[in-house]
């Protein structure tokens, strides 16, 4: 092996491994966070796209990204059905609850017949929820070892029995009867929102305007706007992701800088020899940069592998969905490589400017 770059890495395997791991962690962090944000966003959009209702009628502030309240009277269902252009209306309670240490989950309370008819949802196994402790779940949730007849914990102390499995997936993965959820929340005759289906979808704007005029003070929203990308609907998420990417870049650069700084201190004498042999400043800088780039590249590969393994493990353990996009993978790659190159530049420039006689006499 006559490559000084490769042989230097092999000569100090532990330090090389730690440096590679440092870069890998930065890259994996970017991939995992962005993969999670994209995965969850796409999952939410996919589930939302299966809602056939064109309009959501709710109270202002009653529904957020991770919270909701049941403060809308179900009396509006009848009133909305009387509005010109409305085909049907069905009430829903969306309830967010803490799901262990991993965050929040949600359950919908629905009037199954009207809800499933409006949104073309079929029960592919079992039957609709009838008893207060019965739920129906979608295929994704069922695939996590929850067949019909099994019990699972949703919220509260009790267990719920899976009465049926429905498709396609839509809204919360678990649904119970509206009445059961109203009783549990002590919110009789209340719901979170009402799905409104119009007779002619091209009239939805006019219908929404009529609803707004008839019942002012409430919130009338097209479903297509409500279920926009999570990244745009959660304030600050894109800023958070960018800050994270920046931090990962800084971590990568610092790890490589520290590694190369230590390497160069140890190899001061060798740099003196290179200078005595006539190596130019550019040659010395390029050798050190090549070593840093090799560390970064290996860190990059390790980071991708780490991210995929972590994503798989987290998905298995929690059901969270990851989607590793090509754009963010490219960003992570650039961060790893540029961070390494930038981090190595100062030690490289310092080495290139060493006095050759002083370097040769370094012990």
């Amino acid at each position: 092996m006559d490559s000084i770059v490769v042989s230097n890495l092999r000569q100090r395997p532990l330090r090389s491994a730690i440096s590679i791991l440092g870069v890998a962690l930065g890259v994996a962090l970017v991939m995992i966070f962005t993969g999670l944000a994209h995965g969850m966003s796409e999952d939410l959009q996919k589930r939302s796209s299966n809602v056939s209702a064109e309009i959501i009628f709710t109270r202002p502030g009653s529904m957020g990204i991770t919270s909701s309240s049941a403060n809308l009277s179900t009396k509006y269902v009848e009133l909305l059905q009387k509005v010109e252009g409305v085909e049907s209306a069905t009430p829903v309670i969306r309830y967010f609850y803490s799901s262990g240490p991993w965050g929040v989950d949600q359950v919908d309370g629905v009037e199954w017949d009207s809800f499933s008819k409006m949104n073309n949802i079929q029960l592919i196994q079992g039957r609709a929820p009838a008893a207060p402790d019965e739920i129906v779940i979608d295929e994704t949730k069922a695939a996590r070892n929850h067949p019909v007849g099994s019990t699972l914990k949703v919220f509260g102390p009790g267990l719920y029995r899976v009465a049926g499995i429905y498709a396609p997936e839509s809204g919360a993965r678990a649904k119970m009867s509206l009445k059961a959820l109203q009783d549990l929340l002590e919110a009789p005759d209340k719901c979170t929102f009402i799905y409104v289906k119009v007779k002619n979808p091209s009239d939805q704007v006019a219908v929404a305007r009529r609803i707004d005029q008839a019942y002012p003070g409430n919130k009338v929203q097209p479903t297509r706007d409500l279920f926009a990308s999570v990244e745009t609907s959660i304030p600050g998420l894109s800023v958070f992701l960018r800050v994270l990417v920046g931090l990962a870049a800084i971590v990568s650069a610092l790890v490589v800088m520290l590694a190369m700084h230590t390497t160069i201190t140890e190899r001061t004498r060798e740099i003196g020899i290179l200078k005595a042999m006539g190596a130019s400043r550019i040659y010395i800088i390029s050798e050190i940069e090549r070593e840093a780039l090799l560390i970064s590249f290996l860190g990059l590969v390790a980071g991708f592998i780490l991210a995929v393994l972590a994503g798989f493990g987290i998905h298995k353990a929690t059901g969270l969905i990851f989607h590793f996009g090509a754009w963010w993978a490219l960003t992570a790659a650039l961060i790893g490589l540029l961070g390494g190159a930038v981090g190595a530049f100062y030690p490289a420039a310092r080495a290139a400017n060493l006095d050759p006689v002083t370097a040769l006499s370094y012990e």
């Binding site: 092996m1 006559d2 490559s3 000084i4 042989s7 230097n8 092999r10 000569q11 004498r269 060798e270 020899i273 290179l274 200078k275 005595a276 042999m277 006539g278 190596a279 130019s280 400043r281 040659y283 050759p356 006689v357 040769l360």
Partner: protein
């Protein structure tokens, strides 16, 4: 024979704290092409300083050095590095091989630094044969004896056909048997390739291998 190295009135003063310490006090020297010159003198007389000046590793406080027609003292730092790369080969007392590279890797590194398509396997084989290192090419320095390491260092210094080889006590770390082998190699290089060599030594036996001896004392040639 043409003059390959000429040094005029070289002075070098080191600044140590607030004190000026003169190391060379007006040294003039001319070396002809193909000469094997030894520099002797007590420790601290300025031998190493002179070698570093001649190799462009240091700049003189005063005076002029011309190597193979190129003025080293008038050159910028980058130009001096370039002259060193093209015209000078160094051999050190402590061998100074790259420990992570094999013997061949050390030679190829010198070729890469030299550039200009300097990868010349014929030249490399010729040098290695002459230094009897053919079967040591894939050994790393720590797998070689001191004499073998110094021969690799010598091979590295001459592989790019430098105008001058500057050797700083090349036998200083070797036992007498290995010293004799290395000195024999220096003589052979000088005889067969007409290689110009300037060698610092304390060893009278090593000095005996040289065609001309320069004695130094207190920063002067005596």
């Amino acid at each position: 024979m043409a003059t390959i190295l000429k040094a005029d009135n070289l002075e070098k003063v080191y600044r140590v704290g607030k004190v000026d310490v003169p190391a060379l006090r007006g040294v003039s020297l001319a070396v002809q092409e193909g000469e094997f010159v030894g520099i002797m003198g007590p420790s601290g007389c300025g031998k190493s300083t002179m070698l570093h000046l001649l190799g462009g590793l240091l700049t003189p406080t005063k005076g002029r050095i011309v190597i193979d027609g190129e003025d080293l003292t008038a050159a910028s730092d980058a130009k001096r590095t370039d002259i060193r790369r093209r015209k000078i080969g160094f051999v050190f007392q402590r061998f100074n091989l790259f420990p992570t590279l094999t013997a061949e890797g050390n030679l190829r590194l010198a070729e890469r630094i030299h550039g200009n398509g300097a990868d010349d396997p014929d030249r490399r084989r010729e040098v290695l044969r002459m230094l009897r290192l053919q079967d040591k090419m894939h050994h790393k320095p720590l797998e070689l004896s001191g004499g073998e390491q110094q021969r690799v260092a010598l091979a590295r210094a001459v592989v790019n056909r430098p105008a001058i080889v500057l050797a700083d006590e090349p036998t200083g770390n070797l036992d007498s048997e290995n010293s004799e082998i290395v000195l024999k190699m220096f003589r052979e290089l000088n005889d067969r390739f007409n290689q110009t060599i300037i060698m610092i030594t304390h060893n009278p036996e090593a000095a005996a291998a040289c065609q001309r001896i320069i004695q130094m004392r207190d920063g002067h040639i005596v």
